[in-house]
């Protein structure tokens, strides 16, 4: 019975990954239903919440990019909230407030460090807008991003809308090149079937728009998230998306709403980021399993499958890798996996060069190295995330006070 169950889970995981990419391609090419109804005349009031922790000058650049938005200045505001950064982030926020007076910018600071989710909630307290857009403070936004996001709320029943996150540093090194392809494939293919049923399971926190009433309703449970008493500060984007779906709203990713982020270019930083993401995926799985009947009765089957099988894929991949290392340790060293990855890299690089010139990769064959990363990811990150669910810091942004440079903002 157990082997049959294992095989079934493995096949379903394979189904959700491979088939979803293929479905994404087919849907993109032939199903207009994947495109949401947009109404650009709808100009809701918008609050852009910008939680920040140890971002330094980057937060200034983010606010600058928002200030250039093609959205009526009287219809949106920026609320930048610092989570007690140990560097000069707050000073950069204040400087941005002074420099970009064309838009209303409110700058605040938490009483104590409490994590991104609670910082978003604190920022929300100052907002009265109809649409709340939560963004990452290390992103650069396209001028049309706010306009594109708000236009999507014209479709009835849409609760949350996400944007497409592009990579601003695709050619830093192999690590960033790999991530560029992964990001592109995820947004342009993997998410498309979810878009079709308006049930995207995770909208990126880089660019996350939500109806105000929904976020206000979710705020208490967002603040109260904890792991056996330890506050959970990670994965608020996945959590909010999940909750949006459970409350009967639809979710959507508008690939025309663009923002750019600098992905990690060091293995250690990437490892920490992936560990944080994997933890939130696993935590989300536990939550899904805990309330599975509720999910089954309320959500689209496609959504339930994605919510259950996507995190299970990570666990299955880990088991497959461990089994492979025990039974056939050099299986990964054969040419077949490398050829597959290099082939995929060639296809995606061509697509990126054609459809997203800014992310063009100079050395697409470097994607072959994803083979090594997938081993690391499956063998190390999954078990480590399973065993560090009580960790609740900002992950890659965590710095010790002595690491940070304070007070340069005013000098720049």
């Amino acid at each position: 019975m157990l082997p049959i169950l294992t095989w079934l889970v493995m096949m379903l995981c394979l189904f959700t990954t491979v088939v979803k990419y293929l479905m994404g391609l087919l849907l993109r090419l032939s199903f207009p239903g994947t495109k949401i109804l947009k109404d650009y005349s709808r100009q809701s009031t918008v609050s852009v919440l910008l939680p920040c922790y140890n971002e330094g000058r980057t937060v200034y650049n983010s606010i600058e990019s928002i200030s250039k938005s093609n959205y009526p200045a009287d219809r949106f505001e920026v609320i930048a909230q610092d989570d007690c950064s140990v560097d000069d982030s707050y000073e950069w926020m204040v400087k941005a407030q002074q420099d970009f007076a064309n838009i209303p910018i409110r700058v605040g600071r938490n009483v104590s460090n409490c994590g991104k989710a609670r910082t978003v909630c604190n920022a929300l307290e100052h907002s009265t807008a109809e649409i709340i857009i939560s963004i990452d403070s290390d992103c650069i936004f396209h001028p049309d991003a706010i306009r594109e996001l708000t236009a999507c709320f014209a479709e009835p029943g849409i609760g949350s809308v996400g944007g497409r996150v592009g990579v601003s540093n695709p050619n830093d090194n192999i690590i960033t090149a790999i991530q560029t392809i992964v990001y592109y494939a995820a947004f342009e293919l993997y998410k498309i079937p979810e878009n079709w049923t308006r049930s995207v399971c995770c909208i990126s926190g880089c660019l996350f728009a939500i109806r105000r009433e929904l976020l206000v309703e979710l705020e208490p449970i967002l603040r109260a998230r904890h792991w056996f008493g330890v506050p959970v500060n990670q994965g608020e984007d996945r959590f909010l998306t999940h909750q949006t779906l459970l409350r009967g709203y639809g979710t959507y990713i508008n690939n025309d709403a663009l923002c750019w982020t600098a992905v990690p270019n060091k293995l250690s930083v990437l490892f920490k980021q992936q560990l944080r993401w994997r933890s939130s995926i696993i935590r989300d799985l536990f939550f899904t399993l805990k309330s599975l009947p509720q999910h089954v009765f309320r959500l689209h089957p496609n959504t339930v499958f994605t919510l259950v099988l996507t995190p299970l894929s990570a666990l299955v991949a880990m088991m497959v890798m461990v089994t492979m290392f025990i039974c056939d340790p050099l299986a990964w060293a054969g040419p077949q996996p490398l050829v597959v990855y290099v082939g995929l890299a060639a296809i995606f690089s061509w697509a990126i060069k054609k459809y997203s010139v800014r992310e063009t990769i100079q050395h697409p064959l470097a994607f072959g190295a994803y083979l090594a990363w997938s081993i690391v990811s499956s063998v190390f990150i999954t078990p480590l995330s399973l065993l560090t669910l009580d960790s609740g810091d900002w992950g890659t942004r965590t710095k010790q006070p002595q690491e940070a440079q304070i007070g340069h903002a005013s000098a720049s």
């Binding site: 208490p220 449970i221 792991w227 008493g229 330890v230 506050p231 039974c327 065993l387």
Partner: protein, 365 residues
């Protein structure tokens, strides 16, 4: 929602709420402590496992003394195939040997027959020669006698003509009564005998003529004898061909038998033969070609814990088999070529170890 109450709840405190909060707090702390202890233990175990795994992989990549014990069963596929081949080879030898004996007997019979008919040929030739020599001598003599006989017969015919006149005279005399009837009958009988003698003489002349012809020319009898001689020689030639083919077949069969004997002799040196034909449990091990240098007869064998540490001597190499074997690497699971050794084990349970080491301890302890 199933989300628990917030940790830093700002709800007004009540007694029940405080108790509930305290119990929940203790429960959370207990779960969290257990989780953290478990996580630390597992993470250390994973770390140790990963480093051990990496070390083992590296160790076996560079080790030049490991061997992999192989327990051969008389019932495993290779052993059964091997024994089946052996039985088939032996059966073939027996069949060939029966064939060889039969061919040898046939050859002997054919050789005897050939000798017999070969000995007839000179006799026949002698008889023909002798007859020809005889004819050479008797032919002219018979021709001369034939001529004499012809002359004699001519004379006899003349005399018979005269005797016819005499017979007429006798008849006239008898009629005339000049002689008695008895005298006349007696004289006529004499005349008749003379005529009969003349006829016999002519028959003899004809026979003589035939004899002369036979003695002086080649007749059908001579031709029959020559034909017989040709047939005899043809039989001998055919026998020679058959004998040659049979001898070659015999030689080939003998060579085949020898080859099969050689193959069986080699097979008897195989571990599968030893394993399948002995009563005693034998212990074998696979040695990759890279490690062949340490596989010498008498080399000590060590068995280790965790495949490499805390080793003890468990026996020595007893025999080395030359045939190539291909097995899966016990650690890397890739195909490895090598040879088989027979081990003399003082600790038979070491035959079940994943690996053993030849010549010395791999890490000196």
């Amino acid at each position: 929602m199933a989300t628990p109450a917030p940790v830093n709840s700002t709800d007004p405190p009540t007694v029940l709420g405080n108790i509930r909060w305290s119990v929940q707090s203790v429960a959370y702390k207990a779960v969290l402590a257990t989780y953290r202890v478990f996580a630390i233990l597992v993470l250390y175990a994973v770390l140790i496992g990963i480093f051990s795994y990496a070390f083992i992989m590296g160790f076996y990549a560079v080790s030049r003394s490991w061997a992999a014990p192989v327990i051969l069963s008389a019932f495993d596929e290779k052993s059964l195939d091997f024994m089946q081949q052996l039985v088939i080879s032996r059966q073939t030898i027996e069949d060939l040997q029966v064939d060889i004996v039969r061919q040898q007997t046939t050859l002997a019979e054919m050789a005897k027959y050939r000798s017999a008919i070969l000995s007839l040929d000179p006799q026949l030739q002698q008889a023909i020669t002798r007859e020809r020599e005889q004819a050479k001598h008797t032919g002219p003599e018979l021709e001369k006698l034939e001529k004499d006989k012809q002359a004699d017969n001519a004379k006899s015919r003349e005399m018979l003509t005269q005797l016819h006149d005499l017979e007429f005279q006798l008849n006239n005399d008898l009629k005339a009564g000049l002689i008695t009837k008895a005298d006349a009958t007696s004289q006529l009988a004499t005349l008749n005998q003379a005529e009969t003698a003349y006829t016999d003489s002519r028959i003899a002349a004809v026979e003589l003529s035939n004899n002369v012809l036979a003695a002086t020319t080649v007749g059908t009898k001579s031709l029959d004898a020559i034909e017989k001689q040709a047939e005899l020689r043809s039989d001998i030639a055919q026998l020679d061909v058959t004998l040659s083919v049979a001898e070659k077949q015999l030689m080939e069969d003998n060579r085949q038998v020898q080859r099969l004997h050689d193959a069986i002799a080699v097979a008897k040196l195989s571990p599968y033969y030893l394993n399948g034909n002995g009563d005693k449990q034998l212990y074998f091990a696979f040695v990759p070609y890279d490690n062949q240098a340490v596989a010498t007869v008498g080399a000590p064998i060590y068995d280790c814990y965790l495949n490499m540490v805390v080793c003890r001597k468990v026996g020595a190499v007893k025999q080395i088999f030359s045939g190539e074997q291909i097995i899966n690497h016990p650690i890397f699971k890739t195909q490895v070529r090598g040879l088989t050794i027979l081990m003399d084990l003082s600790h038979p349970q070491s035959a079940k170890s994943q690996t053993i080491f030849l010549g010395g301890k791999p890490l000196w302890f």
